[in-house]
């Protein structure tokens, strides 16, 4: 099929190269489209929030009147939720991952758990909300409390923590474990003194990313009934609560422009919180990496 003439070959080659360059340009445009949308979203939200975002907004209770409304209970609720969720999900997730990586023997049972965890990561968050409603709110009679919310969110992010911790454990060199065994350490001593400290950067990064997923979740909290009007700060894990995403949803769903502005202001607060968490994950990883490199 190819022409035997050298001239034609060069001609077609130039054309083919040009087509390739153009299509590569198209690929590039498609790629930066995502970034463009992200920037548009952030700029739009920042513009909309300008008139509303001030100290009074951070310090006030929610209100029917837009100019008096604030996010104090929502902010406290989100921080409570994050703390409780971390307390429940981190030990559980890391322990699961340690068992699966360091103890469990290869076989059908491990396979089953592994497939199960991968599938759980794909279950829609609203389904976790249904589980939380039936299991924690009603069956365990925790009501619409912070604890019920935190337990629901913990189950939601558990697969993420397990998977990222497993990856962190797997990336460690086997020599690390063998050297500790060679000195007569027991299995748990090896894990506690060698495996976990060295896997810490990876584990921390995964945990922070999982928690930032939890703090932005809305649907499960609506399902467990956190959409009620809460004009007070939570005092204990058994208190009713509201959270930032819930407040954002509430204000966005109202038709008045003032409340849209409030929603934008609450989004700015939530996004700042999320960026701070992501940044600390990156810094933490850097810090640990430099420490291990320095040893």
């Amino acid at each position: 099929m190819e022409s035997s003439s050298n001239g034609t070959f060069h001609l077609r080659r130039t054309r083919r190269k040009r087509i390739g360059m153009i299509l590569a340009g198209v690929l590039f445009l498609a790629t930066i489209l995502g970034i463009v949308v992200l920037v548009t979203l952030l700029v739009d939200v920042a513009m909309q929030s300008r008139a509303w975002l001030d100290m009074q907004f951070l310090n006030s209770l929610p209100s029917r009147f837009a100019d008096q409304a604030g996010i104090k209970p929502a902010l406290y609720g989100s921080l409570w939720l994050m703390g409780l969720t971390a307390l429940i999900s981190v030990p559980l997730g890391v322990a699961s991952a340690v068992y699966l990586e360091e103890y469990a023997r290869d076989g059908w049972f491990l396979q089953l758990i592994q497939i199960n965890i991968a599938n759980l990561a794909g279950v829609p968050s609203v389904v976790y909300g249904i589980l939380g409603l039936a299991l924690f709110v009603r069956f365990a009679a925790l009501g619409q409390s912070l604890l019920a919310g935190a337990l629901t969110l913990s189950l939601l992010i558990l697969p993420i923590i397990i998977i990222s911790t497993q990856e962190a454990l797997r990336s460690l060199p086997t020599g690390l474990r063998e050297s500790a065994y060679a000195l007569g350490a027991t299995r748990w001593q090896v894990i506690w003194s060698h495996v976990l400290p060295n896997a810490a950067p990876g584990i921390f990064t995964g945990v922070i990313l999982a928690l930032s997923r939890a703090i932005g979740e809305t649907a499960p909290l609506i399902l467990i009934g956190a959409l009620t009007f809460v004009p007070f700060l939570p005092q204990s894990a058994m208190d009713q609560f509201t959270a930032l995403p819930i407040q954002i949803f509430n204000w966005t769903a109202r038709p008045q422009d003032e409340f849209r502005g409030l929603a934008a202001a609450a989004i700015v607060v939530l996004m700042i919180l999320l960026f701070a968490m992501n940044l600390s994950a990156i810094l933490l990883r850097d810090y640990f990496e430099r420490q291990t490199a320095g040893e």
Partner: protein, 324 residues
């Protein structure tokens, strides 16, 4: 939960076969140190934690099935799966899942049309073209896009994308499937991009090297060699992303409306399965009513669909994965 014996115990055991007298202290060592009550307790405690994930799945399945039984005692399966009328708020109630399912399908198709080409293009660009410096900007950018909470996307769809579309599409209502579908698509782009990129990265360089040696240009190599070689991984990323779109809740609740109907018109207001579940649970629907019970039946359908897609995606990667 079978025990793996401690690595050090193999040598003493083979020694035990030769000389029982010297083996005894080693056995004691194994029993007292490696299999000491403390070590065993730790092992079983960790194992119990690992079982939580299994019980989560069982819990989800049990809750959805048990709580939908009362619903299906009142609503015949033939009506549930055979009708396209969903009117739980009316005095004459109809529960035909197709009204909600078609809403979900409409939004999902729109999101797939947006996300699959853009996601795949991003994956190809980042994996095959981008210089290191560009990659270092693009990848975190996409990760940030993936980290935006869905309620924020919902706000964006309702207050930014819909007005923008209304300028282009005449007569577009405040709530419509188009705006929600586009934004759900944007939400799943990072997922398609990162999973497809992993698949493309796994293709060995020797394949593209061979294509270059035959005189192919860079773009021809990428399109005819790298992408087909990573096909199973790319398909899996598509399926997982679509499954995510089906389960997406806040964007469709805020931007797609609350009118369950069977339509293919993307400018219409519709309701998805997920949006219906939220609508019922945010209202004051009393427990024990048929409307309240219906969220479990809808949840069960949603769970089964996404589960089937996730299992299918895993199957594809396992079965059709090229081993290099």
């Amino acid at each position: 939960m079978s025990t793996e014996s401690p690595p050090t115990s193999t040598a003493p055991e083979s020694a035990a076969a030769e000389d029982r007298a010297t083996a005894r202290p080693a056995d004691d060592l194994t029993q007292q140190v490696y299999d000491s009550p403390k070590e065993l307790a730790i092992k079983y405690a960790l194992g119990a934690c690992a079982l939580v994930s299994v019980f989560t799945t069982l819990g989800i399945a049990a809750v959805l099935v048990i709580e939908s039984i009362p619903f299906f005692q009142e609503v015949a399966l033939t009506e549930f799966f055979g009708s396209a009328e969903w009117t739980p708020q009316f005095s004459e109630k109809h529960f035909g899942i197709w009204a909600l399912l078609s809403g979900t399908i409409l939004v999902t198709v729109i999101s797939a049309v947006v996300a699959l080409p853009i996601g795949l293009a991003s994956a190809i660009y980042i994996s095959e073209y981008a210089a290191d410096g560009v990659r270092r900007v693009l990848k975190p950018g996409l990760e940030l896009l993936a980290g935006v909470p869905t309620v924020v996307y919902g706000y964006f769809a309702l207050t930014f994308v819909t007005p923008l579309l209304q300028a282009v599409v005449p007569g577009l209502g405040v709530y419509n499937a188009l705006s929600a579908g586009i934004v759900v698509g944007i939400m799943i782009v990072p997922m398609v991009a990162s999973l497809s990129e992993d698949a493309l990265q796994a293709v060995p360089d020797s394949l593209s090297g061979a294509a270059y040696a035959l005189g192919a240009t860079k773009f021809e190599t990428v399109l005819r060699v790298n992408v087909p070689a990573a096909f199973s991984g790319i398909m899996a990323s598509f399926i997982l992303a679509v499954s995510r779109a089906i389960g997406e809740t806040m964007i469709v609740t805020l931007a797609a409306g609350a009118s369950p109907k069977m339509t293919l018109d993307p400018t219409q207001s519709i309701q998805t399965m997920t949006a219906f579940i939220v609508q019922v649970s945010k209202g004051d629907t009393p427990q024990g009513t048929i409307v309240y019970q219906s969220i479990f039946a809808v949840g069960l359908v949603l769970f089964l669909i996404t589960l089937a897609m996730n299992i299918f995606a895993t199957r594809i990667t396992q079965r059709y994965q090229e081993k290099y």
